[in-house]
């Protein structure tokens, strides 16, 4: 495992770039634990200060230090993405593996439901969800709903691998040696789909962070928890762009773009690594 990582870092520029960007973003998030300010306090520093010492990235119109605010925001945003990815991974793994293994009507039924979830327009449903929850809307509830709606595409990928695993000889051997279906799925098939799970996790985190940012920018989430989206929301509320307080919006946007690019590069380079055909193609060039 370590050797693979080292090879990837050395030979795959996309992977190295992704690791670098994510490392940077993560270290910013880690700094939130040593922040001198409480993220929920306002008017602790002079408002509207441009970037400079001691407020490196300036201060907001609410009297918060942009840099330290950002450390909390990115930490919560990343945690949100991870939570959604974690829950939806479990769903997509179970459904993908079972559908691929069982085949027949089980497969048809599961895939019909799956296709449905792929095409349903999520955004109106999430807005409806916020609309009925209002003040009871919490960060965890939103993550739960998004996870329930965001597993479908990856379940399809996992199923396609599981289908080919089903026809391999070792599956037959395991059946004849008396393994139960759950045992086969977990012990024999799971290891083969794990690489896909990792690379889809990156995409899923990106997807959920993107939706969260979008929803909070519109004010459709719990805007009192500091996230990248709620930071932009408050900046918009104080018309930061018009007032010339550009640093309030620019730095969160820059940081979230870094996160996206980092995760995206990791996902792409891992995909390339997993797919033997594109690996062969690279060898030729």
């Amino acid at each position: 495992m370590l050797k693979i990582l080292r090879d990837l870092l050395r030979h795959n520029r996309g992977f190295a770039g992704g690791v670098f960007l994510l490392g940077f973003v993560l270290s910013i998030a880690a700094l939130s634990f040593v922040s001198p300010y409480n993220p929920l306090d306002s008017y602790v520093v002079p408002p509207d200060m441009p970037p400079g010492w001691p407020h490196v990235l300036g201060t907001t119109s609410r009297g918060q230090d942009v840099f330290w605010m950002l450390t909390f925001a990115i930490r919560n945003t990343l945690a949100f993405g991870l939570l959604v990815a974690l829950i939806s991974r479990v769903l997509s793994l179970v459904i993908g593996l079972v559908a691929g293994y069982a085949g027949g009507w089980v497969d048809r039924l599961l895939m019909s439901i799956n296709d449905t979830f792929i095409v349903i327009p999520l955004f109106p449903i999430l807005v409806l969800f916020y609309f009925v929850m209002r003040d009871k809307m919490s960060w965890v509830a939103l993550a739960g709903v998004m996870a329930c709606l965001g597993w479908a595409y990856d379940a399809r990928l996992i199923r396609s691998v599981a289908m080919s695993l089903r026809t391999r000889e070792f599956t037959e051997t395991s059946i004849f040696s008396g393994m139960s279906v759950p045992q086969i799925l977990v012990k024999e098939h799971l290891p083969y789909v794990l690489p896909i799970v990792f690379s889809t996790t990156m995409n899923n985190i990106n997807w959920s962070i993107g939706l969260e940012v979008t929803l909070s920018v519109l004010g459709f989430t719990d805007i009192n928890t500091p996230t990248i989206g709620s930071m932009i929301y408050w900046a918009n509320q104080h018309t930061a762009m018009v007032a010339g307080v550009w640093w309030w919006i620019a730095f969160p946007v820059a940081l979230v773009i870094m996160t996206f690019l980092g995760l995206f590069l990791l996902a792409v380079s891992m995909n390339e690594f997993i797919d033997p055909r594109s690996r062969l193609g690279r060898g030729k060039e």
Partner: protein, 334 residues
């Protein structure tokens, strides 16, 4: 022909299932809340203006019925479906006596137009560029284009739209940044109005295209680079078939088949993007209507819009599935 009918029937079943599940999700979401939605909606809808007591009583009545809070959960469920089937969601609360359906019909053409144009541009351009990049994989210009296109891909719609707004609104103000057309102009099919509509749609379309292009580009590139190593392409190349012909008839055509499936699958996502874009650019479509409805606490409008978007997206998917066999003859046999 018979197998095409069977195929259609199956796809239609899928369409019904999508609507069924989508609506059920909406029903569960609205009924799983511990809050009394009626009082809350009324409070939100009447907090700004001075609404007469009779109007409030009327609202409460229509809301009780709309939420289907009379009777048991089963009756509520049946009532919910009745409204969805006839697309009647009662009067809007924020624009009080106007029916929800009127508001939706007014906004729908804008969103549909925006989506059609941007989806068409994104799909054609993405597949063309991706196909070329996969076929001529040592071309510098194409590789640089690819990097640019893929760089925008993971950025959420909101942020790309915001960047465009800053660039074309403040730095280099050449294009209108808000609205669907010039305000004081007569609506109709005259030249000036159409020009104004087109001008106002440039930035919204651009933001959707910029985000969407990368996905199609990447998909097409990897499909094509797999196909070019297939035996029949190698054989055609050795046999001296013109390169342009190989690309057009042998490579692109085969790679397009999965891309059409992808188009159907991505529609829900495109719809999400359109809503954000409309909000940022103040475009008078479904998305802007929805956001206003939420802020005004207009439950009937929110529910109506959610239902209409589910129906519209699943209908569009059905349409694409119906056209699919024209491209891929194998579908008929399957």
């Amino acid at each position: 022909m018979k197998s095409y009918a069977a195929y259609l029937l199956r796809r239609f079943g899928q369409f019904v299932l999508v609507m069924f599940i989508g609506m059920n999700v909406a029903f569960v979401v609205t009924h799983a809340t511990p809050i009394d939605p009626v009082e809350q909606s009324i409070a939100a809808a009447t907090s700004f203006g001075s609404t007469s007591p009779e109007a409030i009583a009327m609202m409460r009545e229509s809301l009780r019925e709309l939420y289907g809070l009379q009777g048991g959960i089963w009756e509520q469920y049946v009532g919910f479906w009745k409204r969805v089937v006839v697309l009647d969601f009662g009067p809007s609360l924020s624009a009080f006596p106007t029916p929800v359906s009127t508001l939706i019909w007014r906004a729908l053409p804008w969103t549909v137009g925006l989506l059609l144009v941007s989806t068409a541009i994104t799909w054609v351009l993405g597949n063309l560029l991706g196909g070329l990049a996969g076929y001529l994989h040592n071309n510098r210009t194409l590789n640089v284009t690819g990097l640019l296109v893929m760089g925008f891909h993971p950025i959420p719609y909101y942020i790309v739209a915001l960047l465009l707004l800053i660039v074309f609104g403040y730095v280099w103000p050449v294009l209108p940044i808000t609205g669907g057309a010039q305000m004081n102009m007569a609506r109709g099919w005259n030249f000036d109005f159409v020009v104004s509509v087109v001008k106002h749609s440039v930035l919204p379309v651009l933001s959707l295209v910029m985000v969407g292009l990368g996905g199609w580009f990447m998909g097409m590139r990897s499909l094509v680079s797999n196909i070019v190593s297939e035996d029949y392409v190698v054989y055609a190349e050795l046999g001296g078939v013109a390169k342009s012909r190989i690309l057009r008839s042998y490579v692109m055509r085969n790679a397009l088949v999965p891309q059409v499936t992808g188009l159907a699958m991505s529609l829900g996502g495109i719809f999400n993007g359109a809503i954000i874009t409309e909000q940022v650019f103040g475009y008078p479509g479904i998305g802007a209507l929805m956001i206003d409805a939420v802020h005004a606490g207009d439950y009937s409008l929110v529910l109506g819009l959610t239902s209409v978007s589910i129906v519209a997206v699943s209908a569009a998917v059905l349409l694409i599935d119906m056209l699919y066999p024209l491209l891929d003859p194998r579908v008929k046999l399957a």
